[in-house]
Amino acid sequence: MAKVKGYPEALENKLRDRRFYGEDTNPEFTKTVKKISDTIAHMCYQCGTCTASCPSAPRSSYRIRKFMRRAVLGFENEALTDPDLWLCTTCYSCTDRCPRDIAPTDVIMAMRNLAFKRDIIPVNFLKTVQAIYTTGHGVPNNDVNRTARKKLGMAADPPTTHSYPEFIPGIQKILDYFKLKANADRIVKEREG
């Protein structure tokens, strides 16, 4: 930030105008989020049941209620560029308890979809895409799990693509159709070289 009044940058940032002028919102964003999430995102009355139910909130800056507010008012850029968007564990506790019968989790998922369209996405999510592409699993089996499974009397690998790798090409076909893998590879390469 430029030194407008000659203050140090940190102070300048502290003193910047934070008023909500109304024009930095996009009513279309509310409609799009509603459409993708298939829930009444505009009906939130900010009671906070979601944040109070959230296992992430007490130990992070993630505030699901704040994202709901952004959905109501159409704060598109603020919602999509906030890194907290990616801290939801999708446990659905908020959806279980919301008194307005909204599915806040699905609102977050919708916003993540919209963010991805702008290439806004943490690399670890993309690595998950790559893992699914190659193994059929977001979290592939590993030696620790294999040992544990055997100890519990189960097969080392679950009856999924791990046991039936012939189905992996089918999964790849789906991901390719949506260009998910290609986009993931591209963004990872841009970020990590």
Partner: protein, 696 residues
């Protein structure tokens, strides 16, 4: 909607002439109809969505229309004057006003029609507001076209309208009030004070309802019993009130002015002094001494104390009951006879008593059936009935009340210790769209929770109340000031709805999880006691009672008023009125106001002495009637009979009983039954006017 070409000779006219010889009232040839059409702008409500000029010009082209006009507000005095003047000036035979719903202003325009010298039933309304301009706000062309259709249809009917003379029936000068909570008691006291004999029916053994369970009342902090007991005593003493406790309404027949009500007086097992005297035990009957209570071996939870205190199988709810008569709970009585012995010479106890059915005739009735607490255990996340120290607000009222199970000492149910940190959960089950709770605001929980906070600060030194709220709705007189006062006294307000509660299994303390939305931080608060300000719902028996009286309910089960703003005490059943919470959640001031309104409304027909019935009766066209009698069985109001007339069997309508529902007319295989004001030719003319624009 395509506009239809209209010819002078319209189909409706033909239909009318064809049938003219059959209908008794149409026997004489009517003069050619001359209809006046008046189009209302309703400010911009109608005029903003359609072209009034176009509609008026179109109306003038209709065959029977002799005059068409428009005005900003037809319901205003100058608007009504236009109708009156036009009738005289243009020699009109029928009036059509295109405006709002007939539910709103049909009576207004009927009066204007009458003032102009026509029979008031020669008026027809075309709804171009609720069913047109309000729903087609952005389609002026479509709305204009639809208004033309509506007017054409209304004119077709108006051309065939006949003079009708409403019948008057005498009104029985007695009233009935169902439910003796504060609403029912107030309504009965007002009716009694107006000189009307009133039956007050209460299903519980004693009167007072929910209000008698409360400790103090907001915002004045009056003791609830102190202000209620005098009213209860007045009810007991009033010569005009016939109090029937432990009774409910079994069946209702009849109509405004003449309801025949059967009351089931449940077997109480105990005789009042009057009843004892009737059986020849002069000086006997229950005097409330309680000797029976002392010897009864059966112990049951006392519902009045929300199950927190025991009672016997023979019991009174609390020491101040009106009437002071014991009641036997026959479901738990073992008929050991100890009470009979203890009662001795008073001979007040009859263990073989049976339910009694009593028939009374009343002119009007008021329903004041009140509310129950929503079973808040259904919202599992708050642990009611799972954690001992989570209680409902009604339990709190009894625990803090000096006459309650703990003598007014608030204690934790788990260990009897006085709680210091107490959380109050507002909107517990209210404003809930999940399908588990109630979508509405229960309206008095905010205020009583403020009062609860005050009470613990006052009674428990060092106590700290926390109120978890979404909005504090302190809308009444002196309510916001009360909110200020409680905050000043030290209550902490946390703007966040509680997501869940967990219990510490050792201490039985409760961890309350919420989002302090104003601080934007999730919180976990350990408290000694949680009070849930539970939602309210219609009392259990409401649905059965309302059906007996033919009263509708809204989707949430509260009884439906005739108009939410302009007729909040009336119902769509003439002569039946609503008082208090059965119509929707109300605090005590609103309940009493509503009861006084209902009493006033219910007294009007009685003071008038007779009521006019709308003359929409069924009529039998005897030439066509085959006397099959099938309509007689179908009639829900037993208004039809078969009689012998001129050597034939024909149907006859008892007009006072007929409600004009049309069941018989719709069914009659011979088309021999017409409904007045909705005759077959009138309806056919309307359909023709719509489908073929009057052409055939």
């Amino acid at each position: 909607m395509a506009e239809k070409k209209v010819t002078k000779k319209d189909a409706a006219q033909k239909t009318a002439k064809k049938d003219a010889g059959i209908a008794p009232n149409m026997a004489k040839e009517e003069k050619k109809p001359r209809i006046g059409v008046f189009i209302c702008h309703c400010g911009t409500n109608i005029a903003g969505s359609m072209s009034i000029t176009d509609v008026q010009e179109y109306a003038k082209t209709l065959g029977d229309v002799a005059f068409a006009d428009n005005y900003q507000y037809m319901c205003s005095t100058p608007g009504q004057k236009k109708i009156e003047d036009a009738i005289k000036e243009h020699n009109l035979t029928g009036i059509v006003v295109a405006a709002c719903s007939p539910r709103l202003h049909e009576p207004t325009f009927r009066t204007a029609t009458k003032e102009g010298g026509l029979n008031p039933f020669r008026f027809e309304m075309a709804n171009i507001r609720e069913q047109n301009s309000w729903v087609h706000m952005h389609d002026s062309e479509g709305a204009t076209s639809k208004a033309k259709d509506a007017i054409r249809i209304a004119v077709a009917k108006a051309a065939l309208l006949q003079d009708l003379i409403p019948k008057s029936v005498p009104v029985e000068p007695t009233a009935m009030v169902v439910g003796a909570g504060v609403a029912g008691m107030q309504a009965a006291l007002d009716l009694a004070a107006a000189g009307i004999k009133t039956y007050l029916i209460e299903q519980e053994p004693s009167i007072g309802g929910r209000m008698s369970q409360l400790d103090k009342t907001f915002p004045t902090l009056d003791c609830s019993q102190c202000i209620l007991t005098p009213k209860m005593v007045d009810v007991g003493r009033s010569k005009n009130i016939e109090l029937m406790t432990y009774s409910n309404v079994d069946s209702v027949e009849g109509y405004i002015g003449n309801f025949d009500v059967t009351i089931r007086k449940k077997a109480r097992g105990v005789l009042t002094p009057d009843e004892a005297e009737a059986r020849g035990f002069v000086g006997g009957g229950c005097n409330g001494c309680g000797d029976c209570d002392a010897v009864c071996p059966v112990i049951k939870p006392n519902n009045f104390e929300v199950g927190m205190k025991p009672r016997k199988a023979i019991y009174i709810n609390h020491p101040q009951v009106v009437p002071l008569i014991y009641t036997i709970d026959f479901e738990s009585c073992v008929k050991c006879g100890l009470c009979v012995t203890a009662c001795g010479d008073k001979k007040a106890i009859d263990l073989e008593m049976q339910d009694e059915l009593i028939k009374v005739k009343v002119g009007t009735a008021i329903l004041a059936t009140g509310y129950d607490i929503f079973p808040i255990e259904k919202k599992e996340e708050w642990g009611y009935k799972k954690y001992e120290n989570v209680i409902s607000s009604l339990e709190f009222e009894r625990l803090i009340c000096a006459s309650g199970p703990t003598g007014g000492h608030l204690v934790r149910p788990s260990d009897g210790v006085t709680p210091k940190k107490i959380a109050f959960l507002l909107c517990a089950g209210s404003r809930d769209n999940t399908g588990v709770g109630k979508p509405y605001c229960s309206r008095f929980c905010c205020m009583y929770s403020l009062k609860h906070a005050h009470q613990i600060i006052e009674k428990i030194p060092g106590a700290q109340p926390y109120l978890f709220y979404m909005d504090i709705r302190s809308f009444g007189k002196m309510y916001e000031e009360f909110y200020y006062r409680i905050q000043d006294e030290g209550a902490k307000f946390i703007r966040g709805r509680v997501a869940n509660i967990l219990e510490d299994p050792e201490t039985k303390n409760l961890k309350v999880y919420a989002d302090d939305t104003l601080l934007d931080r999730p919180m976990e608060l350990e408290v000694d006691l949680v009070v849930l300000a539970s939602a309210v719902e219609p009392a259990a028996d409401t649905n059965r009672t309302r059906k007996l009286f033919g009263v509708s309910c809204s989707m949430d089960g509260w009884l439906l008023e005739a108009h939410p703003k302009l007729n909040p005490c009336g119902t769509t059943t003439a002569g039946v009125f609503l008082a208090g919470v059965c119509q929707g959640p109300k605090d005590i001031p609103d309940t009493v106001a509503s009861a006084e309104g209902a009493a006033s409304a219910a007294s009007i027909p009685i003071h008038m002495g007779e009521v006019e019935l709308e003359p929409y009766f069924a009529m039998c066209i005897e030439d066509k009637c085959a006397g099959c009698g099938m309509c007689v069985k179908l009639c829900p109001y037993s208004a039809l009979d078969l009689i012998e007339k001129d050597g034939r069997t024909v149907m006859q309508v008892t007009e006072a009983k007929c409600k004009g529902c049309g069941t018989c007319g719709g069914f009659c295989p011979g088309g021999a039954i017409w409904m007045q004001h909705f005759t077959t030719p009138q309806i056919v003319a309307q359909i023709d006017a719509f489908l073929v624009g009057g052409e055939q």
